[in-house]
């Protein structure tokens, strides 16, 4: 479109909003993840608090234009604290018919739709499964929304005509047009994205120039046409002072591991086999090879954990990362590490199951597997991360327990927080507590003998590096005699060793913090007890209800085995305990069994996180 004086509209009012949710939605190849990330980064630099939720199909390139191929990126940014990517969106960017079809249901009534009309031609409508002759943009079905119909493809082509770029490259720039338009709509500068484009295409200046040109065209389109009557402004949030970065859960997991290695002085060894949504941890860690990090892409899940066991045995910090199905394959080796009593970090980035299940969707359904998924009696520490940035703390805690208590530790995150991002007021290295790795070099038994299973007051056995003179000994998966570690089939000894191993894990409770409510009082009508990635939604729901005068509290578990020592006592102070989980009720069974309280479950297994509305309604129902 030619911009002329006749359609120039100089003054569009800007409305202050305290938070906004935008959903970028398009075909897998439309660059929606990149667009969303760029918008997010800019909002972050402007001081908004935020939370993101990328959602993509399991297929890398599903058939173009179909609902199976829709890739979405949701960002919730605000001038107040933000803990979730938002239940519903204020703005939906739909690059084609399929995107509108998939994502319209969660657009707020009266919300804004920005569409690329080129994605609503006969072919696209048919691919998206609309009946012949039905175009949602034309049939009045969107009357309750504000719809902006823009032929983004055409404008991009016009904008880049004569640049010498091929049609494919020109088409690929259309996401920049939308991004520029949104920057205008939310009164955000383009500088960060311009810098990003220049860096990304440093070797292809013509592509960089085309993208920047399109980005600016999008901004100017908003500024110079009459179709937009409102702009929005989301002021900076009042966040604690400090330096922030944006971080995803998988990034936080990876750098948490690097930090654990540095804080313990143990070289890090990651044994991993590619699996969604865990692979990014392997990718990220592979960048830190100069930091005493060895990454090993094993031939399978079993080899990945076994190599990590070998690394820990040799004196390193062995780690394996995976997701549900991989966790199942590792189970026997976890049992070995349990009876060997060696440090090992096992990170399960949960996804929808069983079997291949929903690889790109989130779920919390592996808790029972973490707790009991081994043959024999083999309790292990289980801890869970509650948000993207919390993955960092969780991994450090896993390393501390693994090394200082000589045990494998299962660390649970999930697809939602693994891919989601949030601003993180990161610590400086000197704020992190050291992790004490002690290697024994002297005999500990009578007559200069070495007893590999002689325990200290924490019931922890000594750690010896192969290569240590005079302390040669053999360990293995067979039951061992108390203290000596020699093979023993003695019945009473087996029972004793079983109890000793369990008591060692139970004793970790002496070394973890007591639990207190995240929000609300320590006694009252209702406590919402959560674990893992439900934290953001529960936090938002409970805080809003407390503000509205309701008697409700939020208690969030990080340590699931052993539980914090005062958990039972704390929970007994509430009339009711509600446990929301993205599974059919797993934590609730542990809580009921251990504390004999009639906890109430609230469960969702749709591959999607809880919305705050869902939680609020459930809480209100129980408060009646």
């Amino acid at each position: 479109m030619e911009i002329s004086a006749t359609n120039f509209k100089p003054h569009v009012p800007i409305i202050e909003a305290d938070s906004i949710v935008i959903r970028f939605s398009g075909d897998s190849g439309d660059g929606m993840q990149l667009t969303g990330n760029q918008f997010t980064d800019t909002a972050a630099y402007l001081g908004n608090d935020l939370s993101t939720f990328p959602e993509f199909p399991a297929e890398i390139r599903a058939p173009i234009g179909t609902t199976a191929g829709v890739s979405g990126f949701q960002v919730h940014f605000g001038s107040r604290e933000i803990f979730t990517p938002g239940d519903e969106y204020d703005v939906l960017v739909a690059m084609n018919s399929a995107a509108l079809k998939v994502d319209l249901p969660r657009l707020k009534k009266g919300g804004i739709i920005i569409t690329n009309t080129a994605g609503f031609d006969k072919k696209n409508l048919s691919l998206a499964g609309y009946p012949d002759g039905v175009n949602p943009l034309e049939n009045g079905s969107l009357d309750e929304y504000t719809v902006h119909k823009i032929d983004v493809t055409k404008f991009t082509k016009e904008c880049l005509a004569g640049t010498g770029l091929g049609m494919k490259e020109i088409e690929r720039s259309k996401n920049m047009f939308v991004l520029g338009l949104l920057f205008w709509m939310f009164d955000e500068p383009m500088d960060y994205t311009v810098t990003f484009i220049n860096e990304k295409f440093a070797k292809k200046p013509e592509i960089a120039e085309a993208n920047i040109k399109t980005l600016k065209a999008g901004w100017n389109f908003g500024d110079h046409t009459e179709i937009f009557t409102t702009r929005f402004k989301v002021s900076a949030a009042k966040l604690p002072k400090g330096v922030y970065r944006n971080i995803s859960g998988n990034q936080a997991t990876a750098i948490g591991l690097v930090a654990a290695s540095e804080l313990s002085g143990l070289p890090l060894f990651l044994g991993s086999y590619p699996i969604t949504p865990a692979s990014d941890v392997l990718h990220e860690l592979s960048k830190y090879k100069a930091n005493n990090v060895k990454t090993f892409q094993a031939e399978d899940e079993i080899a990945a954990i076994c190599a990590a066991i070998g690394a820990s045995y040799a004196g390193g910090l062995g780690v394996t990362t995976t997701s549900g199905p991989g966790m199942s394959l590792k189970t026997e080796a976890i049992g070995l590490a349990t009876i060997l009593e060696i440090p090992l970090i096992i990170i399960n980035i949960q996804r929808g199951g069983p079997s291949t299940g929903l690889p790109t969707k989130t779920e919390q359904s592996d808790l029972m597997q973490a707790m009991y998924g081994r043959h024999g009696e083999g309790p292990l520490p289980v801890i869970a991360a509650s948000s993207p940035a919390d993955c960092f703390n969780t991994v450090l805690e896993a390393a501390r327990i693994a090394i200082e208590h000589m045990t494998p530790v299962i660390c649970l995150t999930d697809g939602y927080i693994a891919n989601g991002t949030e601003p993180w007021r990161f610590p400086s290295a000197d704020q992190l507590s050291p992790i004490k790795a002690t290697f024994v070099t002297e005999p500990n038994g009578p007559d200069g003998t070495f007893l590999p299973y002689k325990r200290d007051e924490k019931l922890v056995r000594p750690m010896v590096k192969p290569g240590t003179k005079g302390l040669m000994h053999r360990i293995g998966g067979l039951e061992k005699g108390n203290e000596t570690g020699n093979v023993s089939y003695d019945a009473v000894n087996h029972e004793k060793m079983t109890h000793l191993r369990a008591a060692k894990i139970e004793k970790i409770a002496d070394f973890i913090p007591l639990i207190k409510p995240d929000s609300g009082k320590e006694t009252g009508k209702l406590a919402v007890l959560g674990w893992g990635s439900t934290s953001g939604a529960i936090k938002t729901a409970v805080r809003e209800l407390i503000e509205a005068g309701h008697d409700v509290a939020h208690v969030h578990l990080h340590h699931i085995n052993p539980f914090p020592k005062n958990l039972g006592e704390l929970l007994s102070g509430y009339d009711k305990v509600l446990i929301p989980e993205m599974n059919c009720g797993q934590l609730i069974q542990l809580i009921r069994a251990k504390y004999l309280i009639p906890a109430i479950g609230f469960n969702k297994v749709q591959g999607l996180p809880f919305t705050t509305i869902e939680l609020k309604n459930k809480i209100l129902e129980l408060l009646k």
Binding site: N291, F296, E299, Y313, A333, G335, L336, R425, S428, R474
Partner: protein, 347 residues
Amino acid sequence: MSTIAEQEALPKLTAKDFASNQEVKWCPGCGDYSILKQVQTVFPDFGVPKENIVFISGIGCAARFTYYMDTYGMHSIHGRAAAIASGVKATNPDLSVWIVSGDGDALSIGGNHFIHLMRKNFDVNYLVFNNQIYGLTKGQYSPTSEKGKVAKSTPYGSIEEPFNPSEIALGAKSTFVARSLDRDPKHMQMVLKRANDHKGTSFVEIYQNCPVFNDGTFFAFSEKETKKEQAIFLEHGKPLVFGQNDDKGIKFEGHVPVIVDIKESGISLDDLWIHDEHDKTKANIIARFFDNTFNGEHFPRPFGVIYSEDRSTYEVAMADQIAAITAKKGKTPLDKILSGDKTWTIL
């Protein structure tokens, strides 16, 4: 780790020094006893301090080996010793790592780790005690049992082709493939030394008699009545000669091997197939002196070093890559890793 000076100051170890205080509990007459004895006999010659030696084993009769060596050791889980050993070697390349496995452990449940270890070529030694039977589970056929094997789970005979371990190893890009047998101590000691000297994964298949479930399976290759006709002992640079009176030779005719009567044919020894353990094409053919026949002829089973190749090991390649990255980028300070590239400040 001991320094060289310390090692030199110590008196040379003996076989006894490598025996742990644990009672050896294999069945009477088991071939494993001989293997344990040969290992304990040759280890002092390697000059590696005991504390720098690690044995990793899986599950099975052979896997108990670890408990009987006074070194560091881990008796792990079924089939996974190779994967565990990879992590050990990657973390501490200074350790001398020995994997002990059986035919079921290495080639059935651990088959995937077996081939990938060969390909990756960590500098470890992989001893597979092949007795062509499952012993510890009391007598089922194994992946190396001959077709038709009558065993506990195959009362009417097995219907499967057996693996030829040397062929698998070569196919998996092994850099060292050898075969020996329990009843030939001197030969086994020679092969163990060669394995120890080799830089890379040394695969040593050791034919081992199971007197309880598969007695006499390899006697054709070890007993003097048949040994000379049924076995051929390879030496690098030497012609392929076998037979009761060293009267038979193997030579190439076109691209297939043939057996010739040395006297009758009048062939010079120089014109026979000269064993070149670095020649993979020839190694592939020698490895097939197994159940494959060439022009209908039955060939003697080869023992000794079938193949050896000098190739960079995984742990060295890993160290080189890390050194190159470190030299180029330097170690990133933890604070820089924590902050990432893009930050903003809230005042």
